[in-house]
Assembly symmetry: C2
Homo-oligomer: 344 residues x 2
DNA sequence: AGATTTTTGAGGTACGCACCTCAAAAATTA
DNA sequence: TAATTTTTGAGGTGCGTACCTCAAAAATCT
């Protein structure tokens, strides 16, 4: 009844422990027919390797690396914390995580960082970065060294990364679109879209999803061309103020990326707080407060705690060449309003 | 640099391994001053017990029990599956889960089941059951035998259960209320509320939350008295048809519990499909299809996979008398619409 | 001081597995 | 058949911890 062990397999297969071990760990020097016999015994008994014991014996240490931009955005900082926490908790799983930060606007320095990683001491890399040619090369180089690479938060679809942990930006945009359409209510009107930069794939995809839904289901709404803030509060204030002067039927604002803070300030200064339906992305201390205060109507996000834990699980699995549980690793697109905001 | 082991502590504290072991496992026969010395060495080195190795040595097996009603509802079945899966995956964590089913309408037989659990072979119980006096006694009896008890899905607030894994029904109802209010749009109208039974605490609390929000934020809407179906499709059809005949300004339907299926059929037969905003609870194969088909507008739910995994983690922690990570165990109130429906 | 009790140390075994060595057995080749 | 190669078995060690025994040392009491 108890879980079968390697000894049980040896007995069942009529071979010695050494042979079972050779088969289990894919070591050479076992006849084909013996391999089959052992594998049959394994399935017959329903043996599953005790990973805890195996890792103990093997002195396994998962040495993982995560690279994040030092953009200083709340979102990235929260993710960094979540990764750190997940690694702490995963200490029992023999996981050691090194969190690297790279200058947000400098893909070359990230690539240099990645190239400098010691292959012998790196069993997996989690990457949050915009896809650029240099990065593509860096990822390729890592994979050629046998180091698994996963993308987190934002995908790198045109690289051969091993996995992506995060949500589909297009679907997230669609979700935002439906909420916007339903929240503003029937009747003509305009939607202002605001992004840090429309160079970023995430923003582009969100906007695509958003537009598609609005066009198909809420055709009476018009989504204005995206205003770009380039990360500057002053620019945001300027472009938004300008746009508000001309847009007469504005009913909603879609914040594709960061900028919630400056937007709130700008609207307050113009005496327009509460006049528009505002929907954004990512749960940060600021968007949380704004949701609670009613200045933001909904936030589309992913659970960064889950993301972090999932990333580490996936990296460990990749390092072990083990299969991953797709259902467990699929992140949900979360809709947060004031009423379902998680504590703390 | 490597993780310190018991041997390192022994050296650091200037005592033998046996003494460290006695301190770590709270065995008697160690002088107070020595205990302190060892504990100081532990904190100084930042030692954390290797749980994997400890469990291996100890031959620890977490023998857990989950009790669910055999109501046959999709929701309970899905939860049972999720628990089963979680236990499979947790096999590496030496977890053995026995899933008991009890007749949904018979709290006494559940109590009998619980009383019959062998205390020596049961390290924790997860319970999904309505709170009744017999159940309260049964929970008390279990706890007096030293068996941790947690409530899952639906809380047992007036028992001394060790923990509750699930979401706050009142907040879930509030969430449904906000969505209903915003989705139906401004202007007077009526909302039909439908429940299996208003005896169940969950339904009561959801309705409270729903009403509170509608009253406060959407006062132009009127929520009609809850129609009870008592789990019978025929009853549902009868009461809904009757109500539809009289309610003239009906704009939304709030499904507090199960009954989505029969409701959809009834509306279809009356030729009213698509006429109302429909919001319900729990993601089941049927609500999933209905969301995709546009017959339901939103579903408020909790991730049953998370619930199951969380329940097992909490039970293991309770069995070890270890602290639990509240942030990780907090389940989110999920809002699902067609656009953010998870795959599969 | 001696007798008694309490505390400590040294050592062993076990858990399930990985990884190593060396010799024996079996299969293959010449 | 003999020589060679391949396959297998027996055995050991160690990972970090739990738990056990027995004797020695230290502290406490009379």
């Amino acid at each position: 009844m108890a879980r079968p062990t390697v000894n049980d397999i040896a007995r069942e297969a009529g071979v010695s422990l050494a042979t079972v071990d050779r088969v289990l760990n894919a070591r050479p020097g076992v006849r084909e027919s013996t391999v089959t016999a052992v594998q049959e015994a394994i399935t017959r008994l329903g043996y599953v390797r005790d990973i805890a014991a195996a890792n103990l014996a093997r002195q396994r240490q998962y040495r993982l690396v995560a690279a994040l931009p030092d953009s200083g955005s709340q979102y990235v900082e929260t993710l960094a914390c979540a990764l750190h926490d997940a690694a702490q908790t995963a200490a029992v799983a023999r996981t050691e995580l090194q969190i690297l930060r790279y200058p947000a606007e400098d893909p070359h320095s990230l690539a240099a960082l990645l190239h400098a990683l010691p292959p012998a001491e790196t069993e997996g890399v989690a990457l949050m970065a915009p896809e650029t040619p240099v990065l593509r090369d860096a990822v390729k180089a890592l994979r050629e060294k046998g180091i698994p690479v996963i993308a987190i938060g934002s995908d790198l679809p045109n690289t051969d990364r091993d996995h992506f942990v995060g949500i589909d930006s297009r679907a997230a945009g669609r979700t935002a679109g439906v909420l916007m359409g339903r929240f503003v209510g029937r009747g003509p009107g305009q939607i202002l879209a605001l992004a840090e930069s429309m160079q970023l794939r995430d923003a582009i995809e969100r906007r695509h999803g958003f537009d598609a839904v609005i066009q198909a289901e809420f055709p009476w709404l018009e989504v204005l061309p995206t205003l770009e803030t380039h990360g500057s509060d002053a620019t945001l204030r300027a472009v938004v103020t300008e746009r508000l002067r001309h847009a007469t039927g504005l009913r909603g604002i879609y914040v594709l990326g960061s900028g919630h803070r400056a937007l709130a300030a700008t609207l307050a200064d113009l005496g327009l707080t509460g006049r528009f339906t505002i929907i954004g992305h990512e749960l940060t201390p600021h968007t949380r407060r704004a949701l609670q205060g009613g200045q933001i109507d909904a936030v589309i996000t992913q659970n960064l705690g889950h993301l972090a834990r999932s990333a580490l699980r996936v990296l460990r699995a990749k390092a072990d060449r083990a299969p991953i549980d797709a259902a467990q690793e699929q992140l949900r697109i979360e809709i947060l309003i004031r009423e379902n905001l998680p504590d703390q």
